[in-house]
C-alpha cells in the first residue's frame, strides 16, 4: 500500500505534466470545488494521521486549535528542516516528487483558510529548494496557485524559505523565529503557534510527510486512510533506513508490520549485510533510545514488536523506544556503541541554541565526558556522571532538544553499560583501531 511514493519512480514525475498524468492535483480539484474547508479538516481528523516529524500529535486536532479571529491572516508553514540524524525521508520525497508536497500544501492551506503559505527547507538542500521553486512556478502557470485557483475563488501564494543550517529550527517555534529572520531560539509556550505564530498571527506548522498525505485523504476519505495500520497508528509511514543493512533507503510501510519483517524482508531493508549480525537499532532518529537486538525485535513481555507508535514505545524507556521521525539506524556487531553515542552527543552539543543553561552546559558536559571515555581517558565515576547530567537536562528546557540530547546517552548506558565500563577499565584495548567490545553470550557476539 503506497500513498506518498506510489509514482515516485515514474520518470519525470517532478514535472507537473507527468504528475498530473499519474492522478496528481485531483485532490485540489475535489477539495476546492466540492468540499468546504471544514469538511477537509473533518476527513483529516477521521484519518487519524499523526504528525510525521517525530512528535506524532494528531494532525486534525492540531488544525482544530488554529485561532480564527476576523481580519487576521493565518498561515500554514511546512517544516522541511529535516535534520534529525538518521532521517532523510522528506529530502527524498521533495527531491523526487515535489508536486506531492505542493498539492498537499494547497489542500491543507485551503482547509486552514491560509492565503499565504511557506515551505521552510533546511538551507543545505539548496538543490531541493530549486526543484521546489521550479515546481511551484509550474503550479502557478497552470492556475493551481495564485488568485482564484481553478475558478474556486480561493487564493493561495506559496513560497520556499531556506534555513541556514541549524537543527534547532526543526522545533516549530524556532522555525517561526527563523522565518522571521532571527536566530532560531525556541519560544516559550503558551502562546502556541496556533494562536500566535509567525508575525504573531495564528499559524499551523506541519511536517512535509504529514502535509503530503492530506491529498490522498481528500481523494479517498479519512476512513480509508484509517483502515490502514493498527489501532491509533493509522496509514503509512516513510521510514529512512540507514546503517548496516543490505538496502539502505526510504521505504513507505503500512504501519503495523513487524520490526523483524522490516529489517529482514527483501521488500524492505533486506537483512543485515553479509556475514554480520544485528546488534542494535535506533528506531526513530538519533533522539530516541537505542535498543539492543533482542528488545527491538520483541518487547520485554515477548511479543513481536511492530512498526507502530504504540508497539515501539511498549515498555516505556526501560525496555522500549519511540517511532519518532522514522529514522531507522541499524548497527551490526562491528559498531562501537560508545563511539556512536559520542557522535550523537557531539551533535546535540553543536546544535543546542544556548538559551537554556541545562541544555547549553549539559550537552557540552556529555560530549566532553563521552569523548574522554572513547579516547581512553575515562574515569570510574564518569558513567554515573553522564546519567546524572542527562537527568538534569531532561524536562528542564524550553524546547525538546534537551530531552533529545539526554535520551540517547541515558539509553546507551541503560542497555550497553558494560561497553562503557570496558572502555574505562581497558583503555589500551578500547583505543585500538576498530576495537569493539563483545558482550559474552550476546546474540551478536562473535
Amino acid at each position: 500500500m503506497k500513498i506518498l511514493t506510489e509514482h515516485i519512480d515514474v520518470p519525470q514525475i517532478e514535472t507537473i505534466a507527468v504528475y498530473k498524468k499519474n492522478g496528481g492535483y485531483k485532490a485540489v480539484e475535489k477539495a476546492l470545488k466540492k468540499m468546504t474547508p471544514d469538511e477537509v479538516t473533518e476527513e483529516v481528523k477521521k484519518s487519524g494521521l499523526r504528525g510525521r516529524g517525530g512528535a506524532g500529535f494528531p494532525m486534525g486536532m492540531k488544525w482544530s486549535f488554529l485561532a480564527k479571529p476576523e481580519g487576521v491572516p493565518r498561515y500554514l508553514v511546512c517544516n522541511a528542516d529535516e535534520s534529525e540524524p538518521g532521517t532523510f525521508k522528506d529530502h527524498y520525497l521533495m527531491w523526487k516528487s515535489p508536486h506531492t508536497l505542493i498539492e498537499g500544501m494547497i489542500v491543507s492551506s485551503y482547509a486552514l483558510g491560509a492565503n499565504t503559505s511557506y515551505i521552510y527547507v533546511r538551507g543545505e538542500l539548496m538543490y531541493v529548494i530549486n526543484i521546489l521553486e521550479k515546481a511551484i512556478q509550474e503550479a502557478y502557470d497552470q492556475g493551481l496557485l495564485g488568485k482564484n485557483i481553478l475558478g474556486s475563488g480561493y487564493d493561495l501564494d506559496l513560497f520556499v524559505q531556506p534555513g541556514g543550517g541549524a537543527y534547532i529550527c526543526g522545533e516549530e517555534t524556532a522555525l517561526l523565529e527563523s522565518l522571521e529572520g532571527k536566530r532560531g531560539n525556541p519560544r516559550n509556550k503558551p502562546p502556541f503557534p496556533a494562536v500566535k505564530g509567525v508575525w504573531q498571527c495564528p499559524t499551523v506548522v506541519n511536517n512535509v510527510e504529514s502535509i503530503a498525505a492530506t491529498s490522498w485523504i481528500v481523494n479517498n476519505g479519512g476512513d480509508a486512510y484509517a483502515a490502514i495500520g493498527v489501532g491509533r497508528s493509522t496509514g503509512t509511514k516513510l521510514i529512512s533506513a540507514s546503517g548496516h543493512i543490505k538496502k539502505p533507503g526510504v521505504y513507505e510501510i503500512p504501519l503495523g508490520i513487524t520490526v523483524e519483517e522490516f529489517i529482514y524482508s527483501d521488500e524492505w531493508c533486506g537483512g543485515i549485510r553479509d556475514g554480520h549480525t544485528l546488534k542494535a537499532v535506533v528506531a526513530g532518529g538519533s533522539s530516541v533510545p537505542i535498543l539492543p537486538a533482542d528488545l527491538i525485535l520483541t518487547t520485554a513481555t515477548g511479543e513481536k514488536r511492530l512498526m507502530t507508535y504504540e508497539s515501539l514505545s511498549d515498555g516505556g524507556f526501560a525496555s522500549g523506544t519511540m517511532l519518532g521521525s522514522g529514522g531507522f539506524i541499524v548497527m551490526d556487531e562491528t559498531t562501537c556503541i560508545v563511539h556512536n553515542t559520542l557522535t550523537f552527543a557531539r551533535f546535540y552539543h553543536h546544535e543546542s541554541c544556548g538559551q537554556c543553561s541545562p541544555c547549553r552546559e549539559g550537552t557540552g558536559w556529555m560530549d566532553k565526558v563521552i569523548h574522554r571515555i572513547e579516547h581512553g581517558k575515562g574515569r570510574k565515576e564518569d558513567i554515573d556522571l553522564l546519567v546524572d547530567v542527562a537527568k538534569k537536562i531532561e524536562g528542564n528546557t524550553i524546547c525538546p532538544l534537551g530531552d533529545a540530547a539526554a535520551w540517547p546517552v541515558a539509553a546507551a548506558i541503560r542497555h550497553f553499560r558494560d561497553e562503557f565500563e570496558w572502555h574505562i577499565e581497558h583503555p589500551e584495548l578500547a583505543t585500538k583501531d576498530g576495537a569493539v567490545y563483545m558482550r559474552p553470550g550476546a546474540s551478536w557476539a562473535r
Binding site: F88, E124, G164, G165, S178
Partner: protein
C-alpha cells in the same frame, strides 16, 4: 580606485532581492535576511563584515541584527574560504558507513585539517552535522551538490576533477 571593490549586488540579483522581500507581509522584510545572506555568500564566497553591513543596508536593519543571525547558522562562513568548500557529515549514520576513514583520507589527500584551507586557496574542509542523507552515506557537500556513497577512490576522483 574608489568603487572598484565596492560591495553591491549585480542588477539581476537586486531584482531578485526585491522579489524576495515581497514574499512577506508589509513591514516584515526582516524575514528576507536568510535568503539574502545566501545570495551574498554565493556572490562573495563568505560573509565578511562589509558584506553583512551591505545586507543590513538593503533591509534597513542595524548591522548587529545581521551579525547575530549570520553567526547563529552554520552555513554562513564568517572567515574567508577556499574556492571549493567541502563540508563532510560527521554524524553517526555516516560514520557507520565508513565516514571516518573516508574523511581521514580526504584530509591526508589535501594535506589540511578540518577548518583549514589549502595553500593555493583551492579547498577548504569543514565538518558539519547530519546532512539528511544517512542512507546514502558517507556524504559530503560542495556548494549545492551532494556527493554520496563516498569511498576513498571516489574522493580522489572528485578532488582530481576539481583540481583541473
Amino acid at each position: 580606485m574608489e568603487g572598484k571593490n565596492q560591495i553591491v549586488f549585480p542588477a539581476e540579483t537586486l531584482e531578485l532581492v526585491a522579489k524576495i522581500i515581497k514574499r512577506y507581509p508589509e513591514g516584515k522584510h526582516k524575514s528576507a535576511l536568510l535568503p539574502i545572506l545566501h545570495l551574498a555568500q554565493a556572490q562573495w564566497s563568505w560573509c565578511s563584515p562589509e558584506v553583512m553591513d551591505y545586507v543590513a543596508s538593503l533591509l534597513s536593519l542595524s548591522p548587529v541584527e545581521v551579525y547575530e543571525v549570520a553567526s547563529f547558522y552554520t552555513m554562513f562562513h564568517l572567515e574567508p574560504v577556499g574556492e571549493h568548500v567541502i563540508e563532510y557529515c560527521r554524524t553517526g549514520p555516516c560514520c557507520l558507513m565508513g565516514g571516518v576513514e573516508v574523511y581521514d583520507h580526504l584530509k591526508k589527500r589535501l594535506g589540511i585539517q578540518t577548518g583549514e584551507t589549502t595553500a593555493d586557496g583551492k579547498f577548504t574542509i569543514k565538518e558539519v552535522e547530519c546532512l539528511a542523507a544517512c542512507g546514502w552515506g558517507p556524504v559530503f557537500q560542495i556548494r549545492e551538490k551532494y556527493h554520496m556513497h563516498l569511498t576513498t577512490e571516489k574522493v580522489d576522483q572528485i578532488i582530481d576533477e576539481l583540481s583541473k
